[in-house]
């Protein structure tokens, strides 16, 4: 029964050849093909914080370095910090006898019980926004280096542009022996204003002087403390704790500091070939609905099996596959033998039913609201092929003969079904809905070959 729940058992081949379970595939209804995650371009929709679910635009996120302004991560265990309040008694500085109670706030982790008091941080007087940002000790130096490179880039750009303009010959053969070219040309008004501007710019852009930070061989000798004093493990930070605070990289736990929470993104997918949107989620981060959701499971019949079959080498056994129709239209399905040559995965021979299978339409009152399914007697079923029929699901029996002695048994076949385009495209010539016949290659993992003999490593004793 648990085999029914394993979604990696039945794999469909994407148009690029990759086998993925149906839940991971998208279906482009313009190309009429299955698309896997590689055939789809991922685009960032919006940024939001996983804790406070606050939406942020891309520009704002970039400015804040992809961090949430309100939420903090525990430096010890990376969970979210929550604000706790306590009351303290403060003595009035002017009159020692008067005492006032004041509410102060501190951050605490619910998982590892780390608090800001552990690192001797003063309690905040306001609930939010009271935490002081940590100053990067190298901020000035890094800012200086960044600006230096930006100026260099600007200078190079100006030089590149100058070269472009300088290539045009001025038709004036003035030799530049005495450096008089530009002066003379200016007098005569020969130089174009654009090239004049460029030259001026090039003169203006002066790259600042950045002193190189040279690496030196002189290192402080190791202090004797490393050999004599005991190492207290609880005082030393772990590598992951250190790297979470890249600017500081504290070695002692008493220097840990909460870091702001990283934002996560919502993405939308687009078919790489026809550039149409395949999935587009809702703008609101707390909503899980989709505006556009073209996933395979809503259009392609789903194949599963309930009972893992009893598979013995070279013996034919019956396997019941269930086919579920996700559409609201009656579907005609054919199971055809696989035409893929040299399929290394297939380890069994398969006998498929030759007749066409009819799947009832999906009735939402049955699947979603649990009402009684309609009687399946409307369909004439061959009991040797169709083992059961329930709402939009049927059980099909196929015969499998494993060709290997041990290991996983894989079968392959082609699922051929009708796809009806419910929402007609503007470009299509037909005004109504159009029906297409689609074929997909399916691989099913039926499980291990069972040994009916005592020892699995004695190939000699085998039932024939």
């Amino acid at each position: 029964m648990a085999a029914y729940m394993e979604w990696e058992r039945c794999l469909l081949d994407c148009s690029c050849g990759v086998s993925e379970p149906i839940s991971r595939l998208y279906f482009c209804r313009y190309c009429l093909k299955l698309r896997c995650r590689e055939c789809v371009s991922h685009e960032v929709d919006s940024h939001y914080c996983p804790n406070c679910l606050e939406n942020t635009t891309s520009a704002e996120a970039k400015m804040r370095k992809n961090r949430c302004p309100n939420c903090f991560d525990c430096p010890s265990c990376k969970h979210t910090l929550s604000t706790r309040a306590t009351t303290t008694v403060i003595t009035d500085p002017t009159d020692k006898t008067k005492t006032t109670t004041k509410k102060v706030y501190y951050l605490a982790c619910g998982f590892c019980r780390w608090t800001t008091r552990d690192v001797a941080m003063p309690d905040m007087t306001v609930a939010t926004g009271g935490l002081k940002e940590l100053e990067n000790p190298h901020a000035n130096w890094i800012g200086g280096v960044l600006e230096y490179y930006m100026e260099l880039g600007q200078l190079e750009k100006v030089q590149r542009d100058k070269k472009k303009y300088a290539k045009r010959k001025t038709h004036l053969n003035l030799s530049d022996k005495y450096g008089l070219t530009s002066v003379v040309a200016k007098k005569r008004g020969m130089l174009s204003p654009a090239s004049l501007q460029l030259k001026e710019q090039a003169d203006k852009v002066k790259v600042r002087d950045i002193s190189n930070r040279d690496a030196s061989d002189a290192v402080e000798p190791l202090s004797q403390d490393y050999y004599t004093t005991d190492c207290i493990l609880s005082d030393i930070t772990t590598i992951s704790q250190r790297l979470a605070l890249v600017e500081l990289q504290p070695e002692q736990t008493k220097n840990l500091f909460p870091s702001r929470k990283l934002l996560i993104i919502r993405r939308s997918h687009r078919c790489k070939e026809c550039e149409h949107n395949l999935t587009k989620s809702d703008f609101n981060p707390s909503s899980i609905k989709f505006k556009i959701q073209m996933v395979a499971i809503q259009h392609i019949p789903e194949i599963r099996f309930i009972k893992p079959p009893m598979l013995v080498f070279n013996e034919e056994s019956e396997v019941v596959l269930t086919l579920t129709n996700p559409t609201v239209i009656q579907s005609h399905v054919n199971l055809l033998p696989s035409n893929k040559e040299n399929d290394k995965l297939v380890t069994a021979e398969l006998v498929l039913p030759s007749s066409e299978l009819i799947l009832a339409p999906k009735d939402e009152t049955v699947t979603d609201y649990g009402e009684e399914p309609s009687d399946g007697s409307a369909y004439q079923d061959d009991p040797s092929i169709v083992t059961f029929r329930k709402a939009n699901k049927i059980g099909v029996s196929v015969k499998v003969k494993p060709t290997i002695e041990s290991g996983n048994v894989w079968i392959a076949f082609i699922l051929s079904h009708q796809y009806t385009n419910m929402t007609p495209m503007l470009k299509s010539e037909s005004s109504g809905v159009s029906t297409f016949q689609l074929e997909h290659l399916v691989h099913v993992n039926l499980g291990q070959v069972s040994d009916s003999t005592a020892g699995s490593h004695s190939p000699g004793s085998r039932p024939n």
């Binding site: 265990c77 590892c112 609880s234």
Partner: protein, 189 residues
């Protein structure tokens, strides 16, 4: 060490300060429960190998097991007394066999504490953490995570005094309470 003959003693004779022990809790053996301790229904306290002495202001929640387990290969002459201090919290589903527990500890849900471990004061054993090596945990240790990571915190965990007060008022309205079977005998001069 009588099993089936359940006697638990209240430390104070004054019932106002007494412990709140629900009738549906399972108490077996020689157990002493201190003042203001609350024992929820479905808590199990079994004193097999010796008496259990539980201090004041403790909170023993549902489905928690405090067992002074009889070790099969030990000789029957030695009596192991399990001593639990004050202000401890035994959350839902915790399983404790440790012989010595200090003050102010919090044993969170579904944790397991073996017989050989000793807790000092202010320790927090996180949920689903199993600690059973022979060790005395230093004060204010926090054990958390699926790998039972540890760290030492600077503060003690806050006490549950408010919760205890509330429970002491509300529990008798909904549950029958156990009456103490015997009060402590007077000490010899």
């Amino acid at each position: 060490m009588g099993q089936g003959h359940s006697r638990w003693r209240k430390r104070w004779q004054n019932r106002r300060q007494g412990a709140v022990v629900c009738a549906e809790s399972d108490l077996q053996g020689d157990i002493t429960i201190g003042a203001k301790t609350v024992v929820h229904p479905k808590a199990t306290i079994i004193a097999e190998a010796g008496p259990i002495i539980i201090g004041d202001y403790n909170l023993i929640e549902e489905q928690s097991h405090i067992i002074n387990k009889k070790v099969t290969d030990a000789d029957g002459s030695t009596m192991c007394v399990m001593i639990i201090g004050n202000h401890n919290v035994f959350e839902v589903g915790s399983y404790v066999e440790a012989l010595k527990i200090g003050d102010g500890n919090v044993l969170e849900a579904k944790c397991k504490l073996g017989r050989l471990t000793e807790l000092t004061n202010g320790c927090i054993i996180g949920p689903m953490c199993e600690v059973n090596i022979q060790e005395t945990l230093p004060e204010n240790t926090v054990i958390y995570g699926s790998n039972c990571n540890r760290r030492v915190q600077s503060d003690r965990p806050p006490t549950q005094a408010l919760q205890l007060e509330f429970l002491a008022k509300i529990l008798p309205n909904y549950h029958h309470l156990r009456r103490p079977t015997k009060t402590l005998p007077k000490l010899n001069p």
